[in-house]
Amino acid sequence: MKILVCISNVPDTTTKITFTDNNTQFNNNGVQFILNPYDEIALARAIELTDGGNGTVTVINVGEASTEPTIRKALAIGATDAVRVNAKAHDAWYVAAQVAAYVKANPFDLILTGRESIDYNGSKVAGMLGELLDLPSVSIIKKLDIEGGNVTVEREIEGGKEVLTIPLPIVAGTAEGVAEPKIPNMRGIMSARTKPLTVIEPVEVNTLSEIISYETPAPRGQVKLVAADDTAKLVDLLHDEARVI
């Protein structure tokens, strides 16, 4: 079985987010970048499914050379080999188009992404890949098992879950519960240095959207307490200050 795991290089969760160039660019000065945590879950499940010589796990990243430490971490965790598309990851559409171009030349039985990246939280790549490759896609799954040529996934829905069985190949976005992230061991770290990491050039992709500017959320105001029986004051505050009625 050949599994492809799409990985992205994202700011560490403790990063203080600031913007530069008149709030048009993310300021990555001094920022620590990590493997997207949801992609780690996807990678862990892929390694479990191919354990014992049952297949291979390729990781693919769209990014410039600065993403290679993250790619090497994925190799240390247990991926068989890696591909880096040598381009800045402009947006989800750009990333999906690059990965789809690679997959069309190199088919896989299963393609996994994290449910979303923790920087843009778009949940778009899995669905876009599915559409580009004309494959079924399930964007947010909590469980994934394979038997024969079918995959059984649990999809999260409001107030519950839905269980689907779909013939391979499919694209799926993994959430918590699919697998426990793996910590690279010393053997993995050593072998990551020599595992294949192929760099390929990007294909031409049209632009579908553009980020005009970024802004940080407004700071939260102080809580105002209103006596339970003072409805007149509550109404005034909701009308005059909160402007919700």
């Binding site: 559409w93 778009k124 876009m128 559409e131 409001e158 959207s209």
Partner: protein, 127 residues
């Protein structure tokens, strides 16, 4: 060119989040001085479909087919994208539900449209 809103239902009933999404889509349609068309998939009653008018829809499309009884991302995305093309919609709105998050990227690719996930406001920027 109208705005198209996908009105998601659960077992034939619209949820509160669907009506919220319709109200949001209505506001977008108003900003663009255009109509709002709703597309519903599944066995929703005529009364419930008509009730979407109270939330601002000008037209409601309903697709009911045994093959679409259960949510299938690929199929639903095709139906919604086809509706967008037929109605000439250049903005498609979906609720930020689990299904909506699965559909929006596929619809975006089909229509070659940018996808903005988790929108909380909509502004028209003057060129």
């Amino acid at each position: 060119m109208p705005v198209l809103i996908y009105t998601e239902n659960a077992e034939g009933k619209f949820k509160k989040s669907t009506f919220e999404a319709v109200s949001y889509a209505r506001a977008i349609a108003d900003q663009n001085n255009t109509n709002l068309v709703a597309i519903s998939i599944g066995d929703v009653s005529k009364n419930d479909l008509a009730a979407l008018g109270k939330y601002g829809t000008d037209k409601v499309l309903n697709v009911s087919n045994a093959k679409l009884k259960n949510f299938i991302n690929q199929a639903y995305a095709s139906v919604i994208a086809d509706a967008a093309k037929k109605e000439g919609a250049d903005i498609v709105v979906l609720s930020n539900s689990f299904s909506g998050r699965g559909l929006a990227p596929r619809i975006g690719v089909k229509l070659q449209a940018g996808v903005a996930a988790g929108g909380v406001a909509h502004r028209i920027l003057k060129p």
